[in-house]
Amino acid sequence: MRAFITIAINTFRETIRNKVLYNILLAAGVVLFLSMSFGDLSIFSRVQVMADFGLTTMSITGLLLAVFIGVGMLGKEISSKTIYMVVTKPVSREAFITGKFAGLFVILVLNLILVGLVFLLSIHVLGSAIKFKLGWAVLLIIMEMGVMVSASLFFSTFSTPTLAAIFTIGFYICGHLNDLVGIGAEQKNNLLWSGALKVIYYMLPNLEHFNIRTQVVYNLGIPQGYIFTAVCYGVLYIALFLILSIMFFSEKDL
């Protein structure tokens, strides 16, 4: 347990001292600021546009953090061999992977909270009441990014940082298009084609489960128990990716 905490703290400290983090945060701040003026260009209310833009910005910020910091973290440790400092001690590889994930996830949560606060402040400045539903939307974005970080760690265990980054972005895109794959599977008459699409549909996580932007922006109802189910869905995927990462990483020659 102590090794896990030590690795998590070191990962947190390393990321906090990484300039990429601040560049991404700065970009997110600028986009949020600009979104305040985009409302005038839309037929919808400024607050609606702002909410939509803000939540999307948070999701993209999380993705960028997961890709640039998450992917680089493990790949860099392996290529620069700083990993030797850890795994040559009586520390299990499980503790290394879970510690890395914990450190990255904490930093991601803190960043999303920071961006979220800027976002809520912007809404407040526009003179609109802050809806409770926004909190749920942020929570689900955090869960989605947890899945993304665990996926980026998983891809890093068996590929180069560049490939892992490509896989992670591809995973994000596929995860959000998964609904379309499901619809395609239903509509195809060809059994083989339909079967193949169904396999892809069930293999890939559906990241749209973490997207309640429409419900928040247009003030639509969220089904009872949806948030809890989505959080459980995220936790299960995180656990699955971490288990797979540990399995791959335990066999890896360093």
């Binding site: 400290r13 400092m85 850890v86 001690k89 009586p90 299990s92 020659d253 360093l254």
Partner: protein, 310 residues
Amino acid sequence: MNVIELRNVSKFYRKDFWAPRVSAVTELTISVKKGVITGFVGPNGAGKTTTIKMIMGLIKPSEGKVTICGKDAFLPASRNGVAYLCEQPYLYAHLTVFETLKFAADLLALPPKSIADEIKRVLSIVELSEKSNMKVKELSKGMQQRLTMASALLGDPQILILDEPMSGMDPPGRRLFRQLFNDLGNKGKTIFFSTHVLDDIESVCDEVIVLSKGKLVFSGEVKTLLGRGFLGTEMVVSELKEQDIPILMQYGCVMGDSDGDQQHLFLPATCDLLKVQNFLFEKQTVLLSINRRAKSMEELLYHNSDAGVL
């Protein structure tokens, strides 16, 4: 008692998916005794680093078994009381010297109350006490290697596994490390270290393991290895009588120069030294000097056979 054991260990690699299997280490069986400083030598590509990585659980052997104190080397528990130092200092650049050692001490699960004192102790051993607050990236390579050594000494490990620890170090750094190895050896620590510098083997090690092309070539005491390079004995004696020379030649002696009242003799390793000495004593010949002629370890390891090693 053996603390490190490798039994029929082989490691195969593929450069890419379709490439044939290449052997880095083949059926290697070696052991390292407790409390002994064992050198590990061999030319580049002999498989030394692969072997050390297998001992440290960084890579899995394709065949065979590696154990430390009876525990499988791939298990984290096998690394309790084991320190590792590699050729290059692989450190986190964002940490300071103190933070690096604190990080290592936490990973070793040292008692939190004793960590500050322990860090002070190891920093003073490697003469880095003044640099405690410096960032790792601000240190020279030699200093980084000293920091890695300090990290290895945390918690007073019983076994030290060192992969070319003095590579790229300046002379004062090398002297410090050599002295440190001797001190640790005197304290009964087990040290297993690979090196290219054969002087280090002669001056520091009790035993030596020699590897070539992934196979064991020699394992035993340094003096046994050096004994293999014994060529013979050189003698300088007072002037010999004419009739004694054929008898000495019969014993296998090779006559050297004769300058005035001195005669140089060479007795090859196959020659019976005692017999020659007795003969010279009977003839009341004065022995002016006697010297051992032997190959250096470098000659023994790298210039002696078709294979290049031994």
